[in-house]
């Protein structure tokens, strides 16, 4: 065990030294997002469509562990709608008074439905690859929103001479270029209730907005509070400046 950890560390240090050579990855496309900048907010329509893409496509393999159904209130759903959404899922609960586990319909306070019971089950169902939890995917990658969008729309035929192992796909935005995720989106995969045409680009954009929200649901509150705080502090500091000048006039004057 001791030797094993030593080897791991050696690999770690070596890897940290050799990063420049390893990074065989294309820089993500730069999109203009409504949530960017100090006044940025999420578009409710995009959020709801993105949730639909997540629910109907991504959720087959990817969990969203840190989000509960009740959080969907941020997307503009009503409490009744949220209850209905949660109730679509069956949740294992228990033990009850008889010591038994039982199944019940989901409630708004439940965390999002997990597609697999554990990582081993997830790997077994996915050709050995583990579909990452998406709760923090946007924050855990450099230029997260651009990265997720680019990855979803970036599948290509492998360059000539590149051999891919079975079950792998070529995606230049993914580090190393070989990804185990099947190209997830194709046109008209979902039908949006607001009549928006479900092109790959549209679905990728919307689900990226949804995942950006999921990685930090407090972002809008944060930016709003930031604007008032900055305005307040600006005036406060200006008054302190005037006061400082006034006090120092006693000795400078």
């Amino acid at each position: 065990m001791k030797r094993f950890s030593g080897i791991l560390i050696a690999i770690g240090i070596f890897a940290s030294f050799g990063v420049g050579a390893m990074e065989d990855v294309r820089a993500p496309l730069q999109r203009e997002w409504s949530f960017a900048g100090p006044f940025g907010t999420f578009d409710r329509g995009q959020l709801q469509r993105g949730f639909q893409v997540y629910k109907e496509v991504c959720a087959a393999c990817h969990g969203l562990n840190y989000i509960s159904y009740r959080n969907l209130i941020d997307l503009g759903f009503s409490p009744t709608e949220i209850k209905a959404i949660a109730a679509e899922y069956t949740v294992k609960d228990g033990p009850n008074d008889l010591g038994e586990f039982y199944e019940r319909p989901g409630r708004p306070t439940d965390r999002f439905f997990r597609p697999f019971d554990n990582d081993q089950a997830a790997r077994a169902a996915n050709n050995g690859a583990l579909p990452v939890d998406l709760s923090l995917v946007v924050k855990a990658r450099e230029n997260g929103s651009d990265y997720v969008y680019s990855l979803l729309t970036g599948y290509e035929n492998p360059p000539p001479g590149k051999e891919l192992p079975p079950g792998r796909f070529y995606n230049p935005y993914f580090p190393g270029g070989e990804i185990s995720m099947t190209p997830p989106l194709h046109a008209d995969l979902v039908s949006f209730s607001d009549g928006t045409r479900a092109s790959v680009d549209q679905m990728a954009t919307d689900v990226t907005v949804f995942l950006t929200w999921a990685s930090e649901p407090t972002m809008e509150q944060r930016k709003k509070m930031g604007v008032t705080t900055i305005i307040y502090l600006f005036f406060f500091t200006f008054i302190l400046y005037l006061l400082m000048k006034r006090i120092w006039r006693r000795v400078d004057g």
């Binding site: 001791k2 959080n71 600006f234 302190l240």
Partner: protein, 404 residues
């Protein structure tokens, strides 16, 4: 004689038994401070205020954080999502740490520029270096607590440095870890120490202040005040100046926490710690990058570790390395050049530390390391001997006339 108002009598009653008001009056209203201090002298009080901010936010974080390898990561997300204003408290703590280092670095560089460590302020400087050392340890352990990928691997790489010590190195590392790898016991003890160390810092800050009040602040011209009118009482003159600086600082801090809260961080730390997957690029927090560059400038592990520790410990002997009698760099044209080169050198070291040590980074890193040490052990003693300093004004008044 008219009876005094109730609050005056209460203050007198208390002060007779517990002289806190007399103490405050001595430390503020009657404390003479050189009147020519520039804005750089506000960074000391600013650092003190940030220490309080860090402890206040830290205590609230501790109420919701779970120092268990299995739950640490999700308890931080719980703070970010479910605790009311938890995101604000955590972002204050996170960005507060980075700005704390910026403020303390400026405070230290000000000391180096104006020779504030020279007689009779040697111990004042040394107390400061002790604070800096404990601060580095606190920051390092704090970064481990969210238990993300960089927390885990940063902890692994840094604690492994101790294995370079001959013979007992391996045992020391296992002892630090509480096992054979960074894990639950490591997280638990780092949490305990991360909570303890700030209180040690407060204690040393107390000593730092006692030493400061003994011989009072240095000043930009580096001669001691001779006449009473060279000084002003600390309150209200420097309380208001420091408050104004606090306002500016609060604006900068707000810009970070509200609009780019993850600017100083590494994205990969939002991936939970995984001992089986090594991040492509392990880097410490930005404020340790220059030391990281020095560590990697030497091809031998032990040599690198020794040099890295030396780069901080050399600060302890600065009062004796610098043999020049003139304090302020204002009257030391050559020292001024080597000082600004030193500052640029530290930035270069930081940039090298952020990049993989390959190609020309290796050479730049080595040259920058050589200059870092040359500044202290070569230029400081030599300039004291050979530099032709400019005439130092005899009094504050003379200095003022010179400037006009």
């Amino acid at each position: 004689m008219a009876k005094q108002p109730i609050h005056t009598r209460l203050v007198k009653w208390i002060d007779y038994r517990l002289p806190v008001f007399t103490f405050l009056s001595h430390a503020l209203e009657k404390y003479p401070t050189p009147r020519n201090l520039n804005y750089l002298w506000s960074f000391g009080s600013l650092a003190g205020i940030i220490l309080v901010l860090m402890m206040a936010t830290g205590i609230f974080l501790a109420m919701h954080y779970d120092p268990n390898a299995q739950y640490a990561f999700s308890s931080v997300e719980h703070i970010m999502r479910d605790v009311n204003y938890g995101w604000l408290i955590r972002y204050l703590h996170m960005n507060g740490a980075s700005l704390f280092f910026i403020v303390v670095y400026i405070h230290m560089l000000r000391g180096l520029y104006y020779g504030s460590y020279k007689k009779p302020r040697e111990l004042l400087w040394i107390m400061g270096v002790v604070i800096f050392l404990i601060m580095m340890a606190t920051a390092f352990m704090g970064y481990v607590l969210p238990w993300g990928q960089m927390s885990f691997w940063g902890a692994t790489v840094i604690t492994n440095l101790f294995s370079a010590i001959p013979i007992i190195g391996e045992s020391i590392v296992s002892w630090l870890w509480g096992g054979f790898a960074v894990g639950g016991p490591t997280l638990n003890r780092f949490y305990a120490l991360h909570y303890l160390f700030p209180f040690l810092i407060v204690a040393i800050v107390g000593l730092h202040l006692i030493a400061l009040h003994q011989h009072r602040s240095n000043n930009p011209i580096g001669i001691e005040p001779t006449k009473p009118k060279d000084c002003v009482p600390f309150h209200p003159f420097y309380t208001i100046k420091d408050l104004f600086c606090l306002g500016v600082f609060a604006l900068v801090l707000s810009a970070f926490i509200f609009f780019m809260p993850n600017f100083f961080g590494e994205a990969v730390n939002y991936d939970p710690a995984n001992p089986l997957v090594t991040p492509a690029h392990i880097v410490p927090e930005w404020y340790f990058l220059p030391y990281y560059a020095i560590l990697r400038a030497v091809p031998s592990k032990l040599g690198g570790v020794v040099l890295m520790f030396a780069s901080v410990f050399v600060l302890f002997v600065v009062p004796w390395l610098d043999t020049c009698k003139v304090k302020s760099a204002r009257y030391r044209p050559l020292y001024r050049i080597v000082f600004w080169t030193f500052l640029a050198d530290c930035i270069v070291l930081g940039w090298v530390g952020a990049n993989p040590p390959e190609g020309y980074f290796i050479l730049i890193g080595r040259l920058a390391t050589v200059y870092y040490f040359a500044f202290f052990v070569l230029f400081m003693p030599l300039l004291g001997k050979f530099e032709r300093t400019l005439p130092v004004p005899e009094s504050f008044d003379a200095a003022k006339r010179c400037r006009l």
